[in-house]
């Protein structure tokens, strides 16, 4: 008995969705109609493929996020022990954040944060 609890909640979530789906299948009214299974596009038939190359800006932000998220991953342990360590921790994180901040400013100036 311990971290199995997480698995229990996982299963509970699955049961909830699967059960409700099952229930819905059980009681819903069904009708067949080919138009119903078309993708919705404001009443028009879809033209061209949907899965196309997407705007690169999204990836750019994803990459930026990755970097800053990892930064948070380092900040969390630091934050936990900050009270105990004190001055050294403060200075070190200052260096860390200054470099990161420079990175952010750099991305800013390079136009990586601009959504075009």
């Amino acid at each position: 008995m311990g971290s199995e609890a997480i698995i229990v909640f996982l299963l509970a979530g699955i049961v909830l969705v699967a059960g409700a789906n099952f229930l819905s299948n059980l009681i819903s009214h069904k009708s067949d109609n080919p138009q119903k299974r078309e993708p919705y596009e404001s009443g028009m038939t879809t033209v061209g493929p949907t899965w196309v190359q997407f705007k690169v800006g999204y990836y750019l932000f994803a990459i930026l996020f990755l970097i800053f998220d990892i930064e948070v991953a380092f900040l969390i342990p630091w934050a936990v022990v900050f009270k105990e360590v004190g001055a050294v921790a403060f200075i070190e994180i200052l260096v860390f954040l200054v470099i990161l901040g420079l990175g952010l400013v750099y991305a800013w100036k390079k136009g990586a944060l601009k959504w075009e």
């Binding site: 979530g13 819905s24 993708p39 879809t46 899965w51 999204y58 932000f61 996020f65 969390i76 900050f82």
Partner: protein, 340 residues
């Protein structure tokens, strides 16, 4: 021992019971929040809102739920069936698991792990995978655009959420939620940390609202341009999951804020310390005030454009947040905190 609730002695049975209780909380809270939203919306617009089904329309969402259950589960032919069906699981499970670590009171917390806050941050970002999957697998242009927007928005604001929480962790020195609440016996963190804590709270609320894709940050499902966004192709119960999860997420965001900034189940000035179970009341009260705040946002602010949204996060909130973090660290280092 992670599970802190003990209902029956048999461990397996105990777990099942807990799971069931949480499922109950989950659905009831979801349904109630939906109703609340509609009522709040109505009040803001000087309407009455749902008032036919049950007293004051209390059963309105129950009726809606029944309607949704009785609808046929359809999907488009072009969809990637497996991923399409998988998406709801992600959003539901992540919401449910996040719920499980929240301390409703001292004793009512499904599991109290020592990295609680970290777990919350981690688990809350899984939901976006469900949204991305759903939007992509639908093979619908609106859905795809919605999903992509959701992705970029969620991950962006995730940073601010995490950073503002980290700012508060500086005060607590622990990630365990129960201990975070414990620390606040000397005063809620928003008081202890005063200026930076207030800033952190404001950032957190903005970012939290955005992370749940709620207005004014709801480009994801901007009706006027994207139909229904990422869940355009979802109907019936499958739509309900996303709908439900969104409201639960709102609750979770508010609950975290209540726990971290406002002392969780602690009563103001310890007025109900002698009656522990009243903690639930205080917790829910604080949470719902914050939920109301989020709903207030929704009906007050106009929707942002994507570029404005990203500008807000990356050019304002994030740098501000980093500075705030340093400020807080500086304060904690020099002991400028307020201890009641």
């Amino acid at each position: 021992m992670i599970l802190s609730i003990n209902i029956v002695n048999n461990s397996i049975l105990n777990m099942l019971m807990i799971a069931l209780i949480y499922l109950g909380i989950f659905s009831v809270a979801g349904l109630f929040l939906v109703l609340l939203e509609r009522k709040v919306a109505a009040w803001f617009q000087l309407r009455i809102g749902p008032n036919r089904v049950g007293p004051w329309g209390l059963l309105q969402t129950m009726a809606d739920a029944l309607k949704l259950v009785s609808k046929e589960l359809t999907g488009t032919v072009k969809a990637d069936k497996f991923l399409y069906n998988l998406a709801p699981y992600f959003v539901i499970i992540s919401a449910l698991m996040a719920l499980a670590v929240l301390p409703f009171t001292q004793d009512f917390q499904a599991f109290d792990i020592n990295i609680g806050l970290f777990f919350l941050i981690a688990i809350s970002s899984i939901g976006v995978i469900g949204i991305l999957l759903g939007g992509w697998a639908s093979n619908n242009k609106f859905a795809l655009i919605g999903a992509m927007r959701s992705g970029v928005q969620t991950i962006s604001y995730e940073l601010s959420v995490s950073l503002s929480l980290v700012t508060m962790v500086l005060l607590t020195g622990t990630l365990q939620l129960s201990e975070i609440v414990e620390v606040q016996k000397n005063g809620w963190l928003i008081v202890q940390g005063h200026i930076p804590a207030v800033i952190a709270f404001m950032i957190y609320m903005i970012a939290g609202t955005a992370e749940t894709n709620r207005a004014p940050f709801d480009m994801v499902e901007a009706e006027s341009e994207l139909g229904a966004g990422f869940h355009t192709e979802y109907s019936g119960m499958k739509f309900a999951y996303f709908f439900l999860a969104e409201f639960i997420n709102m609750f979770i965001i508010a609950a975290i804020a209540a726990t971290v900034f406002f002392g969780g189940w602690l009563s103001p000035f310890g007025i109900t310390d002698s009656i522990p179970w009243l903690g639930v009341f205080w917790f829910l009260a604080k949470t719902f005030v914050l939920v109301f705040l989020m709903m207030w946002f929704r009906w007050t602010f106009p929707r942002l454009r994507v570029d404005q949204l990203l500008t807000l996060e990356w050019k304002y909130l994030l740098p501000l947040n980093l500075l705030n973090l340093v400020l807080m660290a500086f304060m904690v280092w020099l002991g400028f905190t307020i201890q009641l």
